[in-house]
């Protein structure tokens, strides 16, 4: 891939220390001034400010998507686009919705963690844990820090890749993120290095990382291996209703990267995310994507298979309950010979929720010898709920194989009968069947996630969480 990043202008200068940043105010709405102030507070180099301002122009011009979840409730003028770290203490425990508190209780979340997840406390008292983990990584040359710091500490590395995979023009929300991004992770794994532990953003805490416009950039250099974990199964509460993240991942020749997400945003949140990875020769990219929360999610993790032997995988689940619409899926672009992709998607809708699987498999003219396999299954648990499956398959070569299968059903009568005749009540039996249904997903999660996931699904199915 080109070393010259066309997104970056040649000008480069520090110099935003003028003025007292404490004076800067961030209210609702987005203006050019907002963007300039964000950049100033972060003491960014000029190229990043230019990038943000260009993205702001693109955001203004781009139309809203005319497909997907219903975003008519989103009012861009009522959103606060940046919250200074020092101001987070403003929220009190009393302001946190009771449903969130109930869930914490049920899931057995420790007290300190609860306050952090609810945005009540800015720091999570596990800095000690973080620092010791950090030691292991540094020894191997692995860089793992928040993106803001990365821009300052590793400017050349960041400049080379930032915005090259997802340019601001890609879609309206990528443009928005590009203009006001804050927080997120930067990961670089050197050639041949295997990361000894999963890189969990969760431990690298400050409230900005749980913010709305994270920007993550991950580079797995040749023959390296890494596993990045984002989010947590416990519900994350944020009074701001728009979460629009961008994740760019580069997996170089022979490297392997897995990105696991379990999203459980509170039920007021619009979760609109652009996630894209590129995989080079014999590289492997795996997205393990769990969508449980939010009011509306639109997220389609994708892999561009650019060189021979590249492999892409997406394993995703979506659970939609009352008032929720999970519009999720995956995209695989085969742009080289002998590339393979697999998508397994499992969706569950209940209590009036709706899941939509939206996918794209594109086999370009030069993708000979490539193979793609997609399997989507949906369980609609009751007669209030709905599901759509809309896969797009584009085949531009005669030398590749594309296979797609999907089913939509309710819980099988036979399976229910089998289990109830063995002493379980109908609710327990249904839960067991649902756990079996999503097992291909939960078995790929790090253990503590899997445990929480099981507890969470159990809780969701009781109808206690809306």
């Amino acid at each position: 891939m080109a070393v010259n990043n066309p997104m970056v202008t040649d000008d480069y200068a520090y110099g935003f220390n003028d003025g007292d940043v404490g004076v800067l105010k961030f209210g609702q709405g987005l203006t050019r001034q907002t963007v300039e102030d964000i950049s100033r507070i972060k003491q960014e180099p000029k190229w990043m400010l230019d990038f943000r301002l260009h993205a702001l122009d693109v955001f203004a011009k781009k139309p809203m998507p005319r497909w997907g979840a219903d975003l008519s409730g989103l009012d861009f003028n009522k959103i606060v686009y940046y919250v200074k770290p020092s101001e987070n203490q403003g929220r009190t425990w009393d302001e946190v919705p009771q449903t969130i508190k109930d869930t914490f209780e049920r899931l057995g979340i420790p007290e300190a963690e609860r306050k952090f997840l609810a945005g009540v406390s800015a720091q999570y008292e596990s800095e000690v844990v973080y620092h010791s983990l950090h030691q292991d990584l540094t020894e191997k040359g692995i860089i793992f820090l928040d993106t803001d710091s990365a821009v300052r500490e590793y400017p050349e590395l960041v400049r080379e890749y930032f915005g090259t995979i997802i340019p601001p023009e890609d879609n309206k929300f990528a443009a928005l993120n590009s203009a006001v991004w804050s927080g997120g992770s930067f990961v670089y794994i050197p050639p041949g290095v295997t990361s000894p532990i999963p890189l969990q953003a969760y431990f690298r805490i400050n409230s900005e990382n749980m913010g709305q416009f994270e920007r993550t950039l991950i580079i797995a250099d040749e023959n390296s291996f890494g596993h990045y974990v984002e989010g947590c199964t416990a519900p994350t509460y944020n009074s701001e209703s728009l979460h629009s993240a961008v994740v760019e991942i580069i997996v170089k020749a022979g490297a392997r990267m897995r990105y696991t997400t379990v999203q459980n945003w509170a039920s007021n949140v619009y979760n609109l995310v652009t996630k894209r990875a590129v995989a080079y020769r014999d590289a492997t990219m795996e997205w393990v994507d769990g969508n449980i929360g939010s009011k509306k999610t639109m997220k389609y993790p994708s892999v561009y298979l650019l060189e021979e032997g590249a492999r892409g995988m997406v394993l995703s689940i979506a659970v939609a309950g009352r008032g929720q619409h999970q519009d999720t899926g995956a995209k695989m672009i085969h742009a080289a010979p002998h590339t393979t992709s697999t998508i397994v998607s499992k969706s569950i809708s209940q209590h009036g929720g709706k899941t939509t699987y939206r996918g794209l498999i594109h086999l370009a003219p030069n993708a000979e010898g490539s193979k793609s396999n997609v399997k989507c299954d949906t369980l609609i648990l009751d007669d209030e709920s709905a599901s759509d499956t809309v896969p797009h398959n584009e085949v531009e070569t005669a030398q590749a194989i594309m296979e797609h299968e999907a089913t939509v059903t309710k819980v099988s009568e036979e399976q229910l009968f089998y289990l109830t005749s063995r002493g379980l009540n109908e609710e327990e039996a249904t839960r067991l069947i649902v756990m079996g249904f999503i097992e291909p997903f939960t078995r790929e999660l790090p253990m503590e996630f899997a445990v929480e996931m099981n507890r969470l699904i159990k809780f969701e199915m009781e109808g206690a969480i809306g």
């Binding site: 003219p365 000979e368 949906t378 609609i380 648990l381 009751d382 007669d383 709920s385 709905a386 599901s387 759509d388 499956t389 809309v390 896969p391 797009h392 398959n393 584009e394 085949v395 531009e396 070569t397 005669a398 030398q399 590749a400 194989i401 594309m402 296979e403 797609h404 299968e405 999907a406 089913t407 939509v408 059903t409 309710k410």
Partner: protein, 433 residues
């Protein structure tokens, strides 16, 4: 005998007069509907499709209304058959043959223009009741300017023994082609209908571009069964908008078998609404693209009642630089409990310059259902090709055999003998191109 046709320029101002001239023999109620449809046509924008770049320039102005009359003595082929036959070229009926036995049972087989004049009480309530022309520019055009087509009415309890055959010919010198047909089956009736659309060679010099807007409406009473087969072989200078739609009553069944082989650009929609319990839709679509053809096909099943069943099968073969988009839409609405829907789509890619898009969609609003779909696309199995060639077949013959093997499972299931043979003939022609 060659006849030159003049292209009319029809505008909102002069349309009423042109309609009166063109369709002088139509009853007033029909003319009124035509006027309304043309008003909608003028008001609606040119259609846009996500995957088909259709711009008005490509097809010439969308005012390709033919005006030259069609002679009565066109020597176009008529099949040997015991059943009823209707052969038409534009507004002209060439052959109409109704076996006496059918007439005795009250079956009406005639051209639609005549039916509007002679049996308005049978036609008027049904015509335009299945397809809404008010929101679709090409359907509005057909609803306003349709020159003729078939009308088939089968009374309650009548089972028609021999297949009915319709032939719609497009004459190469006509810039427009607007056939419209209506099929009404009363309770517990049954009939087999084969609907051919092709070019009628009459020695005239062809126009550079033809606009075709084709419509078929079907209404099935409870327990009625329709076996509908169709082969489209219009020229590659045709831009075709095709719309076939059925409303299926309780425990009725429709069996669609449609082969799309022609047209330069075709945007077609086949839609079946299962509006009462127990209704069934079984659809097979075969499409074969070659050269620079572009087929954009939607096949839709709407389950609007409990215990309804649909199976939709699509099989496509792509060669040359052809492109296809096959969108299967299964919609199960709330309340359609106990419904079962399956879709299967397979495309065989014979050339690297071809492109196939498959979009099987399931839109489900009811949980007590079973719905599944599958789609696949791939090349000829190289091992199979090698095997056949090693046994002495030329590459061309081997490819032909493999294509036949690919299509056989659906074509051989067509129970209508005549249609099955004709489909194989059409496939053979495409393979040899």
């Amino acid at each position: 005998m060659a006849l030159s046709s003049q292209t009319l320029t029809v505008t909102p101002e002069n349309v009423a007069n042109h309609l009166r001239d063109q369709f002088a023999s139509d009853p007033e109620w029909l003319l009124a509907r035509r006027r309304e449809a043309m008003a909608a046509y003028f008001a609606l924008p040119v259609p846009t499709r996500e995957r088909t770049a259709f711009n008005a320039d490509r097809s010439g102005a969308i005012t390709g209304f033919e005006s030259a009359p069609v002679p009565a003595d066109l020597p176009l082929p008529v099949p040997e058959t015991r059943g009823g036959v209707l052969s038409m070229a534009h507004d002209r009926v060439l052959v109409t043959r109704q076996p006496a036995a059918l007439a005795r049972e009250g079956v009406i087989l005639t051209d639609l223009r005549s039916a509007c004049r002679m049996q308005p009480e049978l036609v008027a309530p049904h015509l335009g009741s299945v397809i809404d022309a008010a929101h679709d520019k090409s359907q509005a055009l057909n609803a306003g300017w349709w020159h003729n087509g078939g009308f088939l009415y089968v009374p309650a309890g009548v089972r028609v023994a021999d297949p009915v055959i319709w032939l719609h010919y497009h004459l190469p010198d006509q810039p427009g082609f607007f056939p419209r047909s209506l099929i009404v089956l009363e309770e517990d009736s049954e009939v087999v209908l084969i609907d051919y659309y092709s070019e009628g060679e009459n020695g005239s010099a062809p126009v550079s571009r033809t606009l075709a807007a084709m419509t078929v409406e079907v209404k099935l009473g409870s327990g009625a069964r329709l076996h509908y087969g169709s082969i489209e072989q219009l020229s590659e200078t045709t831009d075709a908008f095709v719309h076939r739609s059925a409303l299926a009553g309780a425990h009725s069944a429709i069996f669609w078998n449609v082969g799309v082989f022609g047209a330069g650009v075709e945007i077609s929609r086949q839609s079946t609404r299962l509006v009462e319990p127990g209704a069934e839709n079984h659809s097979v679509s075969v499409f074969f693209g070659s050269g620079r053809q572009h087929h954009d096909i939607d096949v839709v099943s709407i389950h609007d009642a409990p215990h309804t069943v649909s199976t939709m099968v699509g099989k496509g073969v792509m060669k040359g630089r052809a492109q296809s988009v096959f969108t299967g839409i299964t919609e199960i609405r709330r309340g359609a409990r106990g419904s079962n829907a399956r879709q299967r789509e397979q495309t065989l890619m014979l050339s690297d310059d071809a492109r196939a898009d498959a979009i099987p969609s399931l839109l489900i609003d009811e949980n007590d259902v079973f719905a599944a779909h599958s789609a696949s696309a791939g090349p000829i199995d190289q091992a199979a090709l090698f095997y056949l060639m090693a046994r002495g077949l030329s590459e061309e013959a081997a490819v032909r055999m493999i294509v036949q093997g690919f299509l056989a499972p659906v074509i051989d299931n067509i129970s209508i003998d005549d249609l099955r043979q004709q489909v194989w003939v059409a496939v053979e022609r495409k393979v040899s191109e």
